[in-house]
């Protein structure tokens, strides 16, 4: 027991806070000789998936350009990406796979360029593309899931250096050794957790331990304790790498799919929301519970009844020492605040689109899709709606504090709605992920959109900000997970990899950072929970 804690502590101090120097080594991929990877043209597997959507993307860009020039008044000056015509394709490596692919590659990352156009210090951009491997291959070699191919499109001078270096290394034949020595820190798959029988819609971490909770379309919530699968250094133990990991417990109780989960380490509880319109409260099992221990009905603590339609998002108050509030967003149109510490009648407040004052007039028109407490101003709760508007409410009173115009591209259909929002951990920022592939940044106080980019090749489903506040992770229906350097004004994409295979038209559905350890977890349409470690 003590050993494990010590190991966890060591892991925290060595890697936990992602010191900026380390992170830079990841961002600055280009300065690290990576000959083997750099030569690889922008993953040919990607081009296939890209080609399908490239035409649509181009059409969208054209449409946006048209619309904005036609209605200049509505174009916010704070969204520079909209102000410039399409930039020229960014420089790519010499043996890039041809113009068409270059064009395709612009889209996800082009926004940064557009913003930085004419700027003095457009930072190097690197896109790391994990090749989508044959599913069976991937499963056979879990250790090597992250075979990484990289596409570097950096500035000229930099590129030349690179090529020179490459040549030298080739000549000297120490290509491999150098690559080993200068591996950038990246996210790599360490665990592939299988047990759910259908799409995983939500995942969350314990705040301090390597414990994961996942909620699925199969109606269950599963708790995974990975502590015993880690070695003393916080890496994957040899034993764990070669066996199927089972969840410690499967919670059954919902009568429909689970849409959102949350863990409270302080309370030792898990929370789950469902299409069955209830929130369920589960006690976490005692440490060391065996997977096939006797059924313990006392783990089923409570069921919060009040919503009258599907619940799509729940979020715990970020400071458990201060309060144990839980906020929920439902298709019944309401936001509800629950006091999870209350013995009976936990429902504290409930309001609709117009806040507590607006009363419900003329039925429900706009439905909340996602919500988040704002860590920088804990009185505030940000809520996104199906009409792409974000509202910030006062948690205590339920009154509208600010309304963000997030609907720049809203077309009155769900194809342009906001799927997910997240409040920044240290800055007054709210970030939204849209069904029409955009990610937008809003100033929490003024409500103005400060940055907008097309971040994925399909709808954005998931967002999270790392504990340091320097990196954003996003997941989308295009199956990819992307990491964004949000400490720079360009919001460079620093890594990309395939997260989950698609079922139907869905891909990645949830991505979360661990709050104190260098781990990340994702869930998706393939019913799998993947756990990634940040390191060399």
């Amino acid at each position: 027991m003590r050993e494990r804690e010590a190991a966890a502590a060591a892991a925290t101090t060595s890697q936990g806070n992602f010191p900026k120097s380390n992170r830079n080594s990841a961002i600055f991929v280009g300065s690290n000789p990576q000959p083997a990877n750099i030569i690889t043209p922008p993953a040919s597997t990607l081009s296939q998936s890209l080609s399908k959507t490239a035409a649509a993307s181009a059409a969208l860009l054209a449409a946006q350009g048209k619309t904005r020039s036609a209605t200049p008044a509505t174009a916010s000056p704070t969204t520079p990406s909209a102000q410039h015509p399409l930039p020229p394709p960014p420089p790519t490596t010499s043996n890039s796979a041809g113009a068409s692919e270059d064009d395709e590659m612009i889209d996800p990352l082009g926004a940064g360029d557009r913003r930085e156009q004419g700027g003095a210090d457009g930072p190097e951009r690197a896109l790391l593309q994990e090749r989508e491997r044959d599913a069976d291959m991937e499963e056979a070699v879990p250790e090597n899931v992250d075979e990484v191919a990289m596409m570097v499109s950096a500035r000229k001078k930099w590129k030349q250096q690179q090529q020179q270096l490459q040549k030298q290394q080739m000549a000297q034949g120490k290509k491999e050794r150098t690559a080993m020595e200068h591996q950038p820190r990246m996210w790599r798959t360490k665990f592939t957790l299988r047990s759910h029988l259908d799409t995983v819609r939500s995942v969350a971490f314990h705040s301090t331990e390597m414990v994961i909770i996942s909620g699925s379309e199969d109606g269950t919530v599963k708790l995974w304790n990975l502590k015993s699968s880690l070695d003393r250094d916080g890496g994957v133990s040899k034993k764990a790498a070669h066996q199927d990991i089972e969840p410690n417990i499967t919670y059954r109780g919902h009568s429909h799919m689970v849409t959102s989960v949350a863990l409270s380490a302080e309370q030792g509880r898990a929370y789950s929301a469902s299409l069955d319109s209830t929130i369920r409260v589960w006690r976490m099992p005692p440490e060391g519970r065996e997977t096939y221990a006797a059924v313990d009905p006392s783990l089923n603590l409570a069921s919060y009844v009040g919503h009258t339609d599907a619940i799509w998002d729940i979020r715990l108050f970020p400071l458990p020492g201060v309060s144990h509030l839980l906020a929920s967003a439902s298709a019944d149109g309401t936001i509800k605040i629950w006091d999870t510490a209350a013995g009976s009648s936990p429902l504290k407040n409930s309001w609709s689109y117009t806040g507590v004052e607006g009363a419900s007039m003329g039925g429900v028109r706009h439905i909340p899709t996602s919500l988040d407490f704002c860590p920088t101003d804990l009185k505030k709760l940000a809520v996104s709606y199906t009409n792409s508007i974000i509202k910030v409410f006062d948690v205590e009173t339920g009154q509208v504090v600010t309304t963000f115009k997030g609907d720049e591209t809203y077309d009155n259909t769900s194809a342009t709605q906001i799927n997910r929002i997240v409040a920044h951990t240290t800055m007054s920022l709210v970030i939204s992920g849209h069904e029409d592939r955009h990610i937008r940044f809003f100033d929490l106080n003024s409500g103005s959109c400060t940055f907008s980019m097309q971040a994925h090749l399909d709808g954005v489903t998931s967002l999270d900000v790392d504990p340091s506040g320097l990196t954003l992770v996003s997941g989308g229906h295009d199956s990819s997970i992307r990491l964004w350097d949000i400490s720079s004004s360009a919001r460079t994409c620093v890594q990309e990899f395939t997260g989950h295979r698609r079922k139907g038209d869905e891909g990645v559905l949830s991505v979360r950072y661990h709050q104190s350890l260098p781990w990340m977890v994702s869930g998706g349409a393939d019913g799998i929970v993947k756990v990634y470690q940040h390191g060399v």
Binding site: T67, T259, A331, D411
Partner: protein
């Protein structure tokens, strides 16, 4: 705002996607797509689920092998889907099946011992009166024998783990020959869940069955692919509700009964661990 939506090229296509904010009544409201139009890695699962949403009562149509499909993969998808839906059945069952009401996993005169544990369970010599409870004098808590709900949950958890096992079922496109034997052991154990419910929680069984037709589907699948020996089927056919049995009437001829290999002398059906 005449803004062109992003999917202009495929504007008419309804995405098989549940967007956050979707109302319950609007969920899964996408048109039925034939199997050859599905192109994801999970097309067979999607197809089966679409069939169930379309008409779950017509178990014959649900079980029938789609043309050109591998029947082993089809059975695999069915078994996964059964486990998925049994999750919901167990929620209903738990309302009245617990250690007190059902200290043993029984159905009619049969007693089943849980297979989810390393060592086969046996009657406890220390505490014969409370053999399903924990030993307080043992350093490590040991469950001597699983009560009915333990058996049911362990069976379901074990089956989910096995069907997700990378070792036994590494692909959903083809099933390794040695893994096929697990179909029967999974089905046999799942059957006991239905059997226990039918003999001891008839109301729960019937109210769930009237909505889900899950047992009817299970029975049809089991007979079609000989997953459960006819002799082990102890829920009388005629006792099913009329709608259910009507749909099952197209059952293939009853197969020849195989010798009952797994009945212990005292009518104890004992199994080894599922994953072994």
């Amino acid at each position: 705002m005449a803004l062109e939506p992003p999917h202009s090229a495929e504007e008419t296509k309804v995405l098989r996607r549940l967007l956050p904010g979707t109302k319950l009544e609007n969920s899964y409201q996408w048109p039925f797509i034939s199997l050859d139009q599905l192109d994801s890695s999970f097309s067979l699962q999607e197809y089966l689920q679409a069939l169930i949403r379309k008409d779950r009562e017509n178990v014959g149509a649900l079980v029938a092998l789609p043309p050109g499909q591998d029947d082993e993969v089809w059975q695999y998808e069915h078994l996964r889907q059964l486990c998925l839906e049994l999750n919901h059945f167990v929620v209903q069952l738990e309302t009245e099946c617990n250690r007190e009401t059902c200290p043993e996993m029984k159905a009619e005169e049969w007693l089943y011992l849980c297979a989810a544990h390393q060592a086969p369970q046996s009657v406890c010599m220390i505490c014969p009166a409370q053999r399903y409870t924990y030993h307080s004098n043992m350093a490590k808590l040991v469950s001597c024998q699983c009560c009915a709900i333990d058996y049911i949950v362990h069976t379901l958890d074990g089956a989910s783990t096995l069907l997700n096992s990378n070792r036994f079922f590494p692909s959903r496109i083809s099933i390794p020959e040695p893994s096929l034997k697990h179909y029967q052991s999974i089905a046999r154990r799942l059957y006991r869940i239905f059997a226990h419910a039918w003999f001891h929680h008839r109301e729960v069984f019937e109210s769930y069955e009237n909505e889900s037709f899950l047992y009817a589907r299970f029975l049809h699948l089991s007979r079609q692919y000989k997953l459960v020996s006819q002799q082990l089927i102890i829920i009388p056919d005629g006792k099913l509700s009329s709608t259910t049995s009507r749909k099952v009437s197209a059952v293939s001829p009853v197969m020849v009964a195989s010798p009952i290999t797994e009945t212990a002398p005292v009518s104890l059906a004992n199994d080894t661990r599922a994953s072994e």
